[in-house]
Amino acid sequence: MNKILIIIQREYLSRVKKKSFLLLTFLTPILIAGIYAFMIWMMMKDDTEKRTIGVINESELVSPVESKDFTTFEYLENTSFEEAKKMLDTKGYYALLKIPKDILESQSTELFSFKQVTIEVKSEVGSQIRNHIETIKRSKIIAEANMPDLEQKLAATKTPISVKTIKFGDDGEIKQSSTEIAMGLGFAMSFIIYMFIFMYGVQVMRGVIEEKSNRIIEVIISSVKPFQLMMGKIVGVAMVGLTQFLMWVILSGAIILIGSAIFMPGLDAASIQQASSISQLPSTGQAMNQAQLNMMQDVLGTFDMSYIMSILGGFIFFFLAGYLLYSALFAAVGSAVDNETETQQFMLPISLPLVLALYIGMAVAKNPEGSLAFWGSIIPLTSPIVMLVRIPFGVPLWELLLSMGLLVASFIFVTWVAAKIYRTGILMYGKKVSYKEIWKWLRYHR
């Protein structure tokens, strides 16, 4: 068997068999699914706490708030504010609502309590009073205008507009697309790449340091070339990362399927979202339904086969190329130091472009055509992350090819440089290494 394959195999198996890997791989999707389930549960759950609120009505409005569901309003006639305040304790009122005399002019009311009132109670009180006053005003206007069907006529003027985004394909066909999806997808993918490069780049670095500090390195490089060892490690760790990623996708999918089958029969993700957004905006329910429908169409239109393939292809390419580029640098850093605490001075120039790329990515998501987007997605150190943000919006082919070409070229160059540093660094024990020293190593010939 080829030696590099033997190394890849060891690097892969020794990591995959670790307890921490198994734990992280299996627990993360469960944790994420748990958080989602909790959030959905919270959204769907009604507030069932029974509350009684005392009302001091000084205005001329007649019962502007009415008991509803779990909230009861008790009107306190002929009670001073001081007495009512005491009732918070004696009668166990949740809060005290004081409707002032001039509510029509001041348009404000006061809610007293010892504890901070919940958002539901606050908005319930507000909307009840608002509706009450609006109804009064409206009927007054209708009466003045002498037009009994004015309300219906006004209602008919409501016209929600949905903007469908349609892209021209390269072959002239038109495609429906969703800006929201493009943004979300792009950003999610670039973030995954960022995480992946950092997590697994550091693993490569640790692996190199481990070999150095265990003093096994010289034994190994008397059997294989340092370059083979370095590449074997980089590829092995990449496969660990891909395995983990794939497991997460599969496990989360399985958990969502199983979870929804058990807990919410007949309910899929889309209808949950629909249900929750409609319940938040009850007054415009009908109109939102239409908008939702349009969005669903957009989403479905966005996901045609070629779009998916271009995104998936781009993701895999930039995912791997970006990782390879950075992990070679991480390996070089690992070779130059004796232990992890010494890595800091060399980590900065590696992590800086990575973090920068993430921030550029955020800006690019808003404007995927600007010059920042262009340069960010062409320069190899930031391109794996920034380009991924742009791909869902569509990128001119020449830019894509230029970016990919530069990335591959710089990967080869960086690996060559890193291998030089690595080759010398792994044999340097107990020496505090500076940038100047590393520069010297680069000029050694073998």
Partner: protein
């Protein structure tokens, strides 16, 4: 016939020369000692032999062929800086290292188990290295060095870090390997630790070879004609009866006997000295003082007017 040869090896690092045209020739089935103080360039030469680094100029021949990558399969190397993966199981790790030397998994497993049985350490197979003591790890290290039955074995500072028991075990195994036809190179600054094992010796000092020859020839050449004699009797009697050209270098006495360190000149032989002494004292022991490699090294450095300060 030379099994391994290095000719005129030059190796420079930025700002300093590690080897200035060093040549060595190691004959098949012999033990070659590469001796010299720390920083002399031994490890650099050994790394060149192992193709960890390459020479700037000079040629290296392995079994008559110019050194090439495939030769690593026939070389076993125990570096000065050595260790194992702490988190890996002993058996797995040994197989891995053997595979990197070009062995198949089955072959490695069979041979490893035979060696483990020989050293009576089979029960360590599934233990992690971090659970082993240092001495145990050293045994594993030795086995993995020789498992692929290399024709050339290189030990850099072989006995440093080994406890006396394991060091003896190691010596015994190395001699056995030599008897089976292995060629062995020792590299060490601790010259005393290997001299009795070596057939041939090269001394390296400050990137240059300053002495090269068979162990016996060197010892013969650097004989000092000094002898140690222990006896029971009176010192004055000896002084009165030995030839005038015999120099007494040192005198010690303890409860039981007296000892003298004598330097003979060219005319008087050991037999003659003994015959002069026998009638007067009772001789307990008599032996020639053979200079150690350390002494020889210092002498050579002085003779050649080289400076002795080690970097």
């Amino acid at each position: 016939m030379a099994f391994f040869e290095a000719k005129n090896i030059v190796k420079q690092y930025a700002g300093h020369t590690a080897l200035k045209g060093v040549s060595i020739s190691v004959s098949e089935g012999s033990i070659f000692g590469l001796l010299g103080p720390n920083g002399a360039g031994k490890t650099t030469l050994i790394r060149i032999i192992n193709q960890i680094t390459g020479p700037d100029s000079g040629e290296v021949f392995f079994n008559g062929e110019p050194l090439k990558p495939e030769h690593v399969h026939h070389i076993g190397y125990l570096p000065e800086e050595r260790g194992l993966y702490k988190k890996m199981k002993v058996g797995e790790q040994s197989i891995y290292l053997a595979q990197l030397k070009g062995m198949s998994k089955q072959d490695a497993t069979t041979k490893l188990q035979a060696w483990f049985k020989k050293f009576d350490i089979l029960e360590w197979w599934d233990k992690k290295v971090e659970e082993l003591s240092k001495g145990m790890a050293q045994k594993i290290q030795f086995i993995t060095t020789i498992l692929h039955e290399p024709k050339l074995l290189i030990f850099d500072e072989p006995f440093s870090g080994f406890d006396p028991i394991n060091a003896n075990l190691l010596k015994k195994e190395i001699l056995e390997l030599r008897n089976r036809g292995c060629t062995i190179i020792f590299s060490t600054h601790n010259m005393g630790s290997v001299e009795e094992l070596c057939d041939h010796i090269a001394l390296i000092h400050k990137s240059e070879k300053i002495l090269d020859g068979s162990f016996e020839d060197i010892k013969k050449e650097y004989r000092t004609n000094t002898y140690n004699i222990s006896f029971i009797g009176e010192l004055e009697k000896i002084k009165a009866n030995i030839s005038h050209d015999i120099e007494i270098l040192e005198h010690k006495s303890n409860k039981e006997f007296e000892s003298l360190k004598l330097k003979l000149n060219n005319e008087t032989g050991a037999n003659e000295l003994l015959s002069q002494l026998l009638p007067h004292v009772k001789i307990v022991s008599f032996n020639e003082i053979i200079p150690s490699m350390n002494d020889i090294f210092i002498r050579v450095v002085n003779e050649k007017n080289l400076s002795l300060d080690f970097e």
